[in-house]
């Protein structure tokens, strides 16, 4: 089953925006780079990011203003030195992407146009229509083509090889023919993006299964702040397709079933433009108290914007509403409900993207520096991918230059081979889809927007139970080519591992901060919990340790909007 060995200086796992920028930076630093990606880079979830990328480029704005908004938005859990790096680099990052070809929208004078986003004191989200993620992804991919960087498309990573305490290579599964292969390199940048598929309602793609996060955990990296999960307030009721925050930035207003502008009660100053955690809780409260529609949704009203402005500024929103909800947003409000959207936590890294294991780096949504703390502001994720993607790629290339290749990997390859053979041969009674659906249900209901002790304790037990049942899982398809049933079984294991980390971390953290809202501990508790959680795998157990938040210039204050 083993075919040719592939050797590089730097491997990048995942070809989304962070991965492509990391690969470009590593190549620019002289490294021989390859990208290994479960999806073609242009299929990455980056393309679903709609609204914008933040930078303090406008007159009267400053990187300090951007940093303050980000830190306040994070409910003071962000590491402030990391926030400073990103906000200082933001303007240069946007300008660089413009120079590389991103078709940013222009104002009448030909300059970059910006718009307001939730939680920001000033409008500073730059955009390309409402397909900003797609546009930035195109630009980053174009650079991969230009620099002739090798991309292994539709290769799913299965394991990270660590020998002598250092990174040695990865094992990946070739979806096209069902073979496993070993890739050797001196350094790795993990850029595998989101893992929201453990939630029943999510805007994440079905392929967002947190593969890199779970692989890193098993390889000895720590996962930081995983209990902080963002729920986006405005997903289309039903299919949970993301309706961008730009819809509110352009003037959209949310109303409950009684026609009340309910945000007046929750955020008198920022109203609909309050940060996502606050708006999602507001909608959930409206539903809990019987003021939403019976199915649990509320209205997002754009009708007053008029058909022309909607089509010009929010073409994708228009399209989604018409195609997936049968609603013309120029005539009727769009039915919306909160859905899981983003995981603030991720593979713990330092400001250069380095993890606890020498040679392993991470960037983008799967990483946690921490830029977003307990709640991410819209427009900061694309920015993070570019800034930290570049930094991690450069650092990985530097590491590769200074270190020799670590040998070994045959054992890992054999182990993954056995794992796959075992799944294929299993005559167990459990189906992957049933376990996945049960996982989604329990995570949505028990570790969702509002949380409490008994619910989460139940969730931890339920996830452990599902993990035991997973041992009996049977893969119904035995074919080699494009065996998605097998791929889904591998992905499910990753989701289960991560769900356990999220539920445990959330259960232990006895406070409410940002997106982590506990009804039994409704207040933020800086005396005890101004700390990051770090989840480690010790044998088959998850151990959680804590470390302090790095504070530079902004003392934690009460967070009101």
């Amino acid at each position: 089953m083993v075919s040719d060995m592939n050797r590089y200086d730097v491997l990048v796992l995942g070809g989304g925006l962070a991965g492509a920028m990391a690969a470009r930076a590593a190549a620019a630093a002289g490294a021989d780079v390859a990208v290994v990606s479960k999806l073609h880079p242009l299929r990455s979830h980056t393309v679903a990011a709609a609204g914008g990328i933040n930078a303090a480029l406008a007159e009267g704005d400053s990187w300090e203003g951007h940093a303050f908004d980000t830190i306040k938005g994070s409910d003071y859990l962000a590491d402030q030195d990391s926030v400073e790096i990103v906000c200082r680099e933001a303007a240069a990052a946007v300008v660089e992407m413009d120079h590389l070809g991103t078709p940013f929208s222009r104002d009448e004078t030909g300059k970059l146009f910006n718009r307001p986003f939730g939680g920001h004191g000033l409008p500073r989200a730059y955009f390309a229509g409402d397909r900003t993620g797609l546009s930035l992804m195109q630009t980053a991919w174009e650079q991969l083509v230009k620099k002739d960087i090798t991309v292994y498309n539709e290769w799913a990573g299965t394991s990270i090889i660590v020998e002598e305490g250092r990174f040695a290579g990865i094992i990946a599964y070739n979806v096209a023919d069902g073979t496993l292969d070993e890739f050797q390199a001196k350094a790795l940048v993990i850029c595998t993006g989101p893992g929201g598929q453990m939630y029943g309602k999510t805007t994440n793609a079905v392929t967002c299964t947190g593969d890199g996060l779970a692989m890193a955990l098993r390889a000895g990296c720590a996962l930081k702040d995983m209990e902080f999960v963002q729920f986006h307030p405005t997903s289309l009721h039903g299919p949970n397709i993301l309706i961008t925050e730009a819809a509110r930035g352009e003037g959209g207003i949310m109303k409950n079933a009684k026609g009340e502008r309910f945000m007046e009660r929750y955020s008198p100053k920022m109203l609909d433009m309050a940060p996502r955690d606050i708006v999602s809780r507001a909608i959930q409260t409206e539903a809990n108290e019987g003021r939403a529609y019976p199915e649990g949704y509320v209205d997002l009203d754009l009708t007053h914007l008029g058909a022309a402005k909607i089509k010009e500024r929010l073409p994708e929103v228009h399209e989604f509403a018409v195609n997936f909800a049968g609603v013309d947003p120029a005539e009727k409000p769009i039915p919306i409900e909160p859905a899981q959207h983003y995981i603030m936590g991720g593979i713990a890294t330092d400001n250069a993207g380095a993890t606890a294991v020498p040679g392993i780096y991470a960037a983008g949504e799967c990483a946690c520096v921490s830029l977003h703390g307990a709640n991410r502001l819209g427009g900061n994720a694309l920015l993070e991918c570019i800034v930290f993607g570049r930094l991690a790629g450069t650092a990985a290339a530097d590491f590769a230059q200074k270190h020799a290749q670590v040998a070994g990997g045959a054992a890992s390859l054999a182990a993954d081979d056995r794992k796959i053979d075992g799944l294929m041969a299993s005559e167990g009674k459990e189906g992957t889809e049933r376990i996945r659906q049960e996982l989604k249900k329990v995570m949505w209901e028990k570790v969702g927007i509002y949380r409490n002790e008994p619910d989460m304790a139940l969730a931890v037990g339920a996830v452990n139970d599902l993990e035991r049942r997973y041992a009996n899982v049977r893969v119904g398809a035995k074919n080699k080519r494009f065996n998605y049933a097998l791929l889904e079984a591998l992905e499910l294991k990753n989701l289960l591992d991560l769900a356990e980390v999220i539920a445990k971390g959330a259960l232990i953290r006895r406070e409410s901060r940002g997106a982590h809202a506990r009804t039994d501990f409704p207040k933020r508790d800086d005396a005890n919990w101004l700390t990051h959680s770090l989840a480690w795998q010790r044998g088959s157990r998850i151990e959680i340790t804590y470390e302090p938040v790095r504070i530079t210039n902004w003392e934690p204050k009460e967070r009101t909007y």
């Binding site: 222009r106 174009e142 399209e319 889809e433 065996n483």
Partner: protein, 317 residues
């Protein structure tokens, strides 16, 4: 419940493709992708198809459904069944099938790579962002949102006839740079795209515009590049043909086959295609040599002016 017919082929086991029928829940609101997921999760896990975002932005799930290619995630199943009385899902055309609904897109990507799909900076790169008039930036709109799903190539009649033709997605990508104020290689691009298998090889069937799930207009992009190439004075067989065609229409309102062929192919070219002429003569379909102007020549002239004015407005803003 209703029946869906799905194309099946695993080259490792099957000698030839077959169609398989499944009974699925086709209530209103369900997409073609929902149905395929039902089958994959509940009935036959061996069914293979690509998919990811389920919101028409990642471009993974393009398929040929009831005779037209599009994204299965944004195709409502019931209206198709009601319209045609059946629902048949097949892989995209013009690309080899690898397994069931999964096609080999290497040829698609090769074409895209061929057009140098990246910005080539000009001499004056500003310190900050480029200042580009909004109207100029808007020129990219017909192409910039392409998600590379392959739907257009699947339906492309020119690609079907000529596998070397670059195809609509690649040429839309080409236009996206050729029309970008920030790009410094426009002339070189237009010359390269004017060569064989490029902009002049589109047979203008319009299918690409029609099927694009996010309303990119590849054919419009190709036509604009033809205009740009002619304006830039780039001579090619295609541009000569277009100019000759235009001239003869302006003269008589009719196509003069003799002068058009002479101007676009030249005498030698005409001799090379003499077999066509022979066939025409044998079938007694000889066109008149002198074209009498048609009655509505005034309208033809008005039309020509209108088109010219519209084109100027677009390019000179």
């Amino acid at each position: 419940m209703a029946t869906i017919k799905v194309y099946r082929f695993d080259p490792e086991q099957d000698e030839k493709p077959r169609y398989e029928e499944f009974d699925v829940d086709m209530s209103p609101g369900r997409t073609v992708l929902n149905l395929l997921h039902d089958i994959h999760y509940n009935e036959d896990p061996t069914l293979s198809f690509r998919r990811s975002c389920q919101s028409a932005i990642c471009g993974s799930c393009a398929m040929h459904v009831n005779g037209r290619t599009g994204l299965s995630c944004s195709m409502q199943a019931k209206p198709l069944l009601d319209r045609d009385g059946y629902l048949v899902v097949e892989p995209m055309k013009n690309m080899p099938v690898l397994k069931d609904l999964v096609v080999d897109m290497d040829g698609f990507w090769d074409s895209v790579h061929e057009v140098d799909p990246f910005l080539q900076a000009g001499r004056d790169v500003p310190k900050g962002a480029y200042v580009v008039p909004k109207a100029k930036m808007d020129l990219l709109k017909i192409a910039q949102d392409c998600i590379m799903c392959g739907s257009c190539l699947s339906e492309c009649t020119s690609r079907e006839a000529n596998p070397d033709y670059l195809g609509p997605a690649a040429l839309a990508k080409a236009y996206r740079f050729a029309a970008d104020e920030r790009d410094g290689a426009t002339m070189g691009r237009l010359m390269a795209y004017s060569e064989a298998n490029g902009i002049w090889d589109c047979d203008t069937c319009l299918y690409c515009n029609e099927v694009c799930p996010i309303h990119v207009k590849p054919m419009d992009a190709i036509m604009r590049m033809r205009e740009m190439a002619i304006e830039a004075g780039i001579e090619s067989q295609g541009s000569k043909h277009a100019i000759a065609f235009y001239d003869t229409i302006l003269k008589s309102g009719k196509l003069n086959e003799f002068t058009t062929a002479n101007k676009s192919l030249g005498i030698r070219g005409m001799l090379r295609t003499s077999d066509v002429a022979t066939k025409v003569i044998l079938r007694w379909k000889i066109p008149e040599v002198r074209k009498k102007p048609i009655e509505g020549m005034k309208d033809v002239e008005k039309l020509a002016k209108l088109v010219e004015r519209k084109r100027r407005r677009r390019t000179q803003r």
